[in-house]
């Protein structure tokens, strides 16, 4: 297994390099774009002197590479900020201070992250179970009525926006049937049971749509695997259909599912804005939209970086799962 250890190491180094590249690109894209940051931060009524003062405070006159260097330094070892009168220490990993509130971006994100992760992790479990299950079922029942119905439902699922499903669910389940309370975020550490009950609807509405995509992918990939020669071998040796599908076909069909899941998980951490807004969940997505609206650059950069971090980590994990499932990957 020395090959496997080497593979993990190579993949880990690759992830770090990717993260570094992402941080450079994000930093340059946001800070090198035209527009007077000091003016925006200070507000429209500021005098030129005030604007100048703000610019100095934010060190906007330093060259871009130097500012990036300090930014990187903040992430790795922490740094000090002067807020006019006092000096604030921002310990590693420091993503800077909000222009708007002088709050530390890291703290801001840490406050929102549990909400987003709760939403996405729970929904992911649901969409995998529903999606892969439906996909397997419709591949197995190909050409029969049940398959056509399933295909119809998943097609409708991919085409329906989350606010439609979510709204309908909320009106029916909470408004009419009173089965669940209107969702309100409760921290897992405060009350795990309430946490789950309140998140059930958001999970469902996010998962239903994703599940449709996964069902279609699983079905296609399953059908492809079922047509392969080694499936014919096991059928010709009297291995039952349940084993052929559950053991041999599923394993071969899972690779693209793992890959898609990595991407969807990573992007849902910051991209579930609609779901968060609809259910009033104070997550990363909502905060990001707010920060963009008021051009709070440190917050935007910090959050985009964190989202990028999750996408990279999810993909690295997917690659490792790949390698565990199919040893040929390690050789490549």
């Amino acid at each position: 297994m020395s090959g496997f250890g080497g593979f993990v190491l190579r993949r880990g180094v690759g992830a770090v390099i990717t993260l570094f590249a992402i941080s450079v690109i994000i930093y340059v894209v946001f800070y090198a774009t035209p527009g007077n940051v000091a003016q925006i931060t200070c507000g429209p009524r500021c005098s030129p002197e005030q604007v100048h003062q703000v610019a100095q405070q934010l060190r906007l006159d330093d060259p871009l590479y130097l500012r990036y260097w300090h930014f990187l330094e903040g992430i790795l070892v922490g740094r000090d900020y002067s807020t006019g009168t006092a000096v604030q220490h921002c310990s590693a990993p420091c993503l800077g201070l909000s222009y708007q509130s002088d709050q530390q971006v890291t703290e801001l994100i840490l406050a929102k992250l549990p909400v987003s992760l709760s939403l996405v992790l729970g929904a992911m479990v649901l969409w995998l179970v529903l999606g892969v299950g439906t996909g397997m079922l419709s591949a197995w029942r190909r050409g029969r009525l049940s398959e056509r119905v399933l295909t119809g439902i998943t097609l409708a699922g991919t085409a329906t926006p989350v606010f439609v499903i979510g709204l309908v669910l909320m009106i029916v389940v909470c408004g009419e049937l009173h089965l669940l309370p209107f969702p309100q975020y409760v921290a897992f550490t405060d009350d795990p049971e309430q946490w789950a009950w309140n998140l059930l609807l958001p999970w469902l509405s996010l998962a239903l749509i994703e599940a449709a995509t996964f069902a279609r992918l699983t079905r296609a990939s399953m059908l492809e695997t079922l047509a392969e020669d080694h499936i014919r071998t096991f059928r010709a040796y009297g291995v039952g259909e349940r084993s052929v599908i559950g053991r041999h076909a599923l394993r071969g069909a899972l690779a693209p599912v793992i890959a898609l899941n990595a991407n969807n998980f990573g992007s849902a951490v910051g991209g579930a804005v609609l779901t968060e807004t609809l259910f009033g969940l104070p997550g990363i997505g909502q905060e990001l939209v707010h920060a963009v609206a008021v051009v709070d650059l440190p917050v935007v950069v910090g959050m985009v970086l964190v989202i990028g971090f999750f996408v990279v980590i999810a993909n690295a994990v997917a690659d490792l799962l790949y390698a565990v499932a199919d040893r040929r990957v390690v050789l490549a």
């Binding site: 080694h230 014919r232 071998t233 059928r235 040796y237 009297g238 084993s243 199919d326 040929r328």
Partner: protein, 538 residues
């Protein structure tokens, strides 16, 4: 099942028909196979032979194929059996070995686990016992260090070892019948000989029956007692190997046999000797890969090709013969050494040296008409006059035996042999002096193969072409070549006039190759088999 198993035949096929949509793949076929007997189903592609093999295990069930007639295998009526009865037949009483051993095994599981799974399906043995059985049969088929290797996945095995593993899977439940569908087609000739010898030994030891499906008459002659020649889903001739191959009654069988290239017959009309060297390789070397993965696919190869002659380059997979061919044409730059054309060093592709590729399906663009493909070299040389291009392409099509009017047809409208003719016409369009043919007939049936080989010979005589004929098939190479180079591991191990190389091989590897070629005569086959035993013992 009131018949006594002693007298009842192992396989009884009566008036079998198989239809896919409107196509009748098998048409009223009947045959029997006695307990412990060995029958070869021989035919060209599309003859329905593999369809028969699948029908024996009921593999057409639920596929939309329509079956007629009856199939009895080891006491099971395959057509009427319930799914459960069919499942108990498959693998336990009759087991199948498929053509491509890599794709026929699950890439995700260890080989020992796959064999154990099949064993458990039929015996209810414990996991441990099944695993032990897997190791036992792997050892039986000659996998060295079977305990350790049973934990390997298929990609960690060589082609021959994978086929051994599949045979081990077939042996696991000690079936009465082994169905082998082109079991050696994907293998090198020396490995093929090993697998055929293994099947022979296993039959002698276990007494199981063998139904061998093959397009290769030689493979059948080596392995079975009886032959059934099929064409268009019908039986053409059926009898003992000696009778059918030695004194065929039917014309089709005679045609088929005469088309089979013989390794002991030299080129029919050898080229008039010429001293003019057209193309020359000097110390050619080509490396691939980086770092520790670096290796030389071709290593220090020097050879000459004279005007009007054919140089055969023969070798097994990985011998570097295709890499050499590509360097001669200029598709690959050598790492060291040089290619000289008419005395001068050349690099890159030019009109004088052209190539005909192995796979006529993938080497023609399916979205362009064959005329456009053939016209490519003309346009590449700057020809712009459409009328002239059409006229020239028409000439070329007629020259390779196709209809001059077929300019606007697409590759899928042609058969494999016709497509290869298109490939040859495209090579001719550039007015070359040398054509490098890389396995030009290995994807074709023997009768088509013979026609394409004849065409190449004709063109050579008329146009004074020098041909480099790269192939793995020793018999075909002998049939077409004036001189032969035998390659192994990137080097030429033997190089000389074809009759000398084949008649009195000097290198042990050449001798091993020649001993591995299947013989059409069962007596010769038996002699070669014992010769192989001596060679491996030595």
């Amino acid at each position: 099942m009131s018949d006594s198993p002693v007298t009842a035949p192992l396989v009884q096929v009566t008036d079998l028909t198989v239809e896919f949509g409107g196509l009748r793949a098998v048409d009223g076929l009947s045959f029997e196979l006695a307990v412990g007997g060995a029958l070869g189903l021989v035919g060209e592609s599309g003859s329905g032979k593999s369809t028969v093999a699948s029908a024996l295990l009921g593999l057409h069930r639920d596929t939309g194929a329509r079956l007629g007639g009856s199939v009895l295998v080891a006491g099971t009526d395959v057509g009427r059996a319930s799914d459960e009865e069919l499942r108990r037949l498959r693998g336990a009483k009759a087991a199948m070995v498929f053509q491509d051993p890599l794709s026929s095994l699950d890439p995700y599981y260890a080989i020992g686990d796959q064999i154990a799974e099949v064993y458990r399906v039929h015996t209810r043995a414990s996991r441990r016992a099944a695993r032990a059985r897997a190791v036992e049969v792997l050892d039986r088929v000659g996998i060295p260090d079977a305990v350790r290797r049973s934990r390997s996945r298929p990609h960690e095995f060589s082609g021959g070892m994978r086929q051994r593993a599949l045979i081990a899977m077939a042996l696991a439940c000690e079936p009465d019948l082994l169905i082998a569908d082109e079991p050696t087609t994907a293998l090198d000739v020396t490995v093929q000989a090993q697998i055929l010898d293994l099947l022979h030994t296993l039959r002698q030891e276990t007494g199981m029956g063998l139904l061998l499906v093959t397009h290769d008459v030689g493979v059948a002659a080596e392995s079975v007692d009886e032959v059934l020649v099929m064409r268009h889903g019908k039986a053409v001739e059926h009898g003992s190997v000696a009778t059918v191959l030695g004194a065929p009654r039917e014309e089709y069988t005679r045609d088929l046999l005469s088309a089979v290239p013989r390794v002991d017959v030299s080129r029919v009309s050898p080229a008039a000797p010429s001293e003019e060297v057209v193309i020359e390789a000097v110390g050619l070397r080509r490396e691939f890969g980086r770092g520790r993965g670096r290796f030389a696919a071709v290593d220090d190869v020097s050879l000459t090709v004279r005007r009007g002659e054919t140089l055969g380059v023969v070798g097994e997979s990985g011998s570097g013969k295709t890499t050499l061919g590509r360097m001669l044409v200029g598709l690959l730059e050598p790492t060291a050494g040089e290619v000289r054309y008419e005395g001068g060093v050349r690099s890159g592709v030019g009109p004088a040296v052209q190539m005909v590729f192995q796979d006529p399906v993938s080497s023609l663009n399916p979205r362009r008409s064959v005329g456009e493909s053939i016209a490519d070299p003309l346009r590449a040389r700057g020809e712009r006059d459409e009328r002239h291009i059409r006229h020239r392409v028409g000439e070329l099509l007629a020259r390779v035996g196709l209809d001059a009017e077929h300019y606007d047809r697409y590759p899928h409208e042609f058969s494999g042999g016709q497509r290869q003719r298109v490939g040859i016409a495209r090579a001719l369009a550039a007015d070359p002096r040398v054509i490098v043919c890389d396995e030009p007939v290995s994807a074709l049936d023997v009768t088509t193969q013979a026609q394409v080989v004849a065409l190449l010979g004709e063109l050579q005589r008329e146009l004074g072409l020098a041909l480099v004929f790269v192939a793995h098939d020793l018999a075909v190479v002998r049939q077409v070549s004036d001189r032969v180079a035998v390659m192994r591991g990137g080097r030429i191990v033997e190089y000389g006039p074809a009759d000398e190389v084949y008649g009195a091989p000097q290198d042990p590897y050449t001798r091993q190759l020649l001993a591995a070629v299947p013989a059409l005569d069962p007596v010769v086959a038996a002699r070669r088999r014992s010769a192989r035993k001596e060679l491996t013992a030595a």
